[in-house]
């Protein structure tokens, strides 16, 4: 049976700007997790912050059975999480959710905005090891919003900042190549929407990772549903169960 399991934090890293990484060691998870998947994490005790929070898989080091959660402190729950230390235990459920669909026949373009980098960290490693052609576009406000620069330097990564203090200057969408690609994107809704629109009239397919406030992460509460175009029309579809990765063409963007 799948269940919440107490995992020990084996390492912790503070990036600047309220970003942190927590590391855990668990072979069961590293064996099966794939980019796109996420975890539900109980952040505090059962009471004050009652709902578990969803976090994507970030880096994975299969040889050490280590995986990483990378997050930004935005509220109560992430605050509590940021105060845990090496050795502390956290209750984790997962991996849950679907996967980013890699395409072997087309070039894969990964587009990450801000903390949306998480799924593409491991994905880059997988694609490289399987010799699948890809480029990662990674944008943020300024240099301090771009993390993992060393790790990403091994891959074909294009950094873009709005201020231009690191990498290219401007918005990510200004640098995207035209053509027929397999696009995968994760980041603010507005960015993903623009990426989708950029390729809307091309042969490219665009896959986006949606976010919504979650209750269960197991598909039972219908709290995380968003409007998605289905064969039977627009429906409220559960992000945690049918997603979080959706075909951009099926997303009702104006919500």
């Amino acid at each position: 049976m799948r269940k919440y399991r107490k995992l020990k934090i084996t390492d912790k890293k503070r990036w600047g700007n309220n970003y942190l990484s927590l590391f855990f060691e668990d072979k069961e998870i590293t064996d099966k997790v794939f980019p796109g998947n996420f975890f539900m994490i109980k952040v505090g005790n059962f009471y004050k912050n009652i709902l578990p929070r969803p976090f994507s898989i970030a880096r994975v080091f299969p040889e050490k059975s280590v995986f990483e959660i990378f997050f930004q402190v935005v509220g109560d729950g992430t605050k509590i999480l940021s105060e845990y230390n090496e050795g502390d235990e956290v209750e984790i459920l997962g991996p849950v959710g679907n996967r980013f669909p890699v395409n072997n026949d087309k070039k894969n373009i990964l587009v990450a905005g801000g903390r949306g980098i998480s799924p593409f960290l491991y994905l880059s490693k997988i694609l490289k090891s399987e010799n699948i052609d890809f480029t990662l576009f990674y944008g943020g406000k300024s240099e301090k919003d771009l993390m993992f620069k060393d790790y990403l330097s091994e891959f074909d990564t294009i950094f873009i900042t709005e201020t231009g203090d690191f990498g290219q200057k401007g918005l990510i969408t200004e640098y995207l190549p035209e053509g027929d690609f397999n696009i995968m994107t994760c980041g603010p809704d507005i960015m993903m929407k623009k990426v989708y629109e950029f390729y809307e009239n091309s042969d490219s397919s665009v896959f986006v990772s949606l976010e919504e406030r979650m209750g269960c992460g197991t598909g039972i509460c219908y709290g995380c549903a968003k409007k998605i175009i289905t064969p039977e029309g627009v429906k409220m579809v559960r992000i945690c169960q049918e997603g979080p990765v959706f075909d951009g063409g099926k997303v009702v963007w104006d919500e």
């Binding site: 009471y47 406030r213 209750g215 219908y222 409007k227 627009v234 409220m236």
Partner: protein, 305 residues
């Protein structure tokens, strides 16, 4: 020490233990198959269904509140046809007592749902949801009115042989009056409580935190209120009560039973941890051994002065 007896008779139903998964907080059942053995439950109540499929409210639908949560799912559901063809077959492999939570825009729709499902052998009882705060304005629901409560239950009662449980709203002045109306209408039992009407505001955007503005509050926060309502209702009606509202431990279960519930339901706790119900069943057993209680049925409504 011999195992305590957790079984409870509830009218015609006989639950092997008093812990039932509540409607809307456990999906249709199949979602939980990888998380718990559904056969270990006392019972299971499926997500509320209308006659037709229904898409529910737009997002955002949930928000966290102190020791609780606010939801306005708005009874998204697959409708009776798909329920019959997709969900009931799934349940054939389990023996757990199965209740179907029935919703309706009006009196007639409740009837049509029960009518459509009345001969389904796999269904053990109908729980009539007279209390969803997320459909009508102001959080209003049918069980805010004794008359409406009576009429809806009465109109369904003779359609089916299966027990009819009226699920009531806690956001009322006189729960006794509403409970009596359900009883008079022919209800075989009462589920109490559904969620309390509640709200939260984002002070920056000045918008409600959930799209429906008002929502339903559930979780530990509501437990003392839910318990008081069950206690009051138990003194009033003769039909048995399924008690719920914030239950998250063996202690909570026993409090509801001592206050007058015959069985209990677990809602929000199961959202937060899919295995909560099973953990709770096990610890009820342990707690009873510790307190030297032998038969849970004997505790129903047994408060001391």
């Amino acid at each position: 020490m011999s195992k305590p007896d957790l079984s409870v008779k509830f009218g015609k139903l006989k639950f092997k233990n008093p812990v039932i998964l509540a409607s809307g907080t456990a999906g249709y059942g199949y979602e939980l198959e990888n998380y718990i053995d559904l056969n270990e439950l006392g019972g299971f109540i499926t997500k509320g269904i209308y006659f037709n499929p229904r898409s529910g409210n737009p997002s955002p639908r949930i928000y966290e509140t102190p020791c609780g949560m606010l939801n306005a799912i708005g009874l998204q559901g697959i409708g009776v046809k798909r329920f019959k063809s997709e969900i009931l077959p799934f349940w054939k492999k389990y023996k757990t007592i199965l209740g179907v939570n029935v919703a309706g825009e009006d009196e007639d729709e409740y009837k049509r749902v029960v009518e459509y499902l009345k001969d389904e052998k796999r269904i053990d009882f109908f729980e009539i949801n007279l209390s969803c705060p997320n459909v009508h304005a102001g959080g209003k629901s049918p069980s805010w009115e004794p008359e409406t409560t009576y009429k809806i239950i009465k109109s369904i009662k003779n359609i089916s042989d299966k027990p009819i449980i009226a699920k009531l709203s806690p956001s009322v002045t006189y729960i006794e009056e509403i409970g009596e109306s359900a009883e008079k209408g022919g209800a075989d039992g009462i589920s109490l409580v559904n969620t309390f009407v509640g709200m939260a505001i984002d002070i920056k955007s000045r918008k409600a935190r959930i799209s429906n503005v008002l929502g339903g509050v559930s979780g530990p926060a509501i437990k003392p209120m839910a318990l008081a309502l069950v206690y009051k209702l138990h003194k009033t009606v003769k039909i048995p009560i399924m008690g719920l509202g914030g239950i998250n431990s063996a202690e909570d279960v026993l409090e509801f039973i001592i206050a007058g519930a015959s069985v209990v339901q677990i809602g929000t706790a199961s959202i937060i941890d899919p295995a909560a119900s099973i953990k709770i069943i096990k610890s009820v057993e342990k707690e009873m051994v510790e307190l030297n209680y032998k038969k849970i049925e004997k505790l129903i409504g047994k408060m001391e002065k």
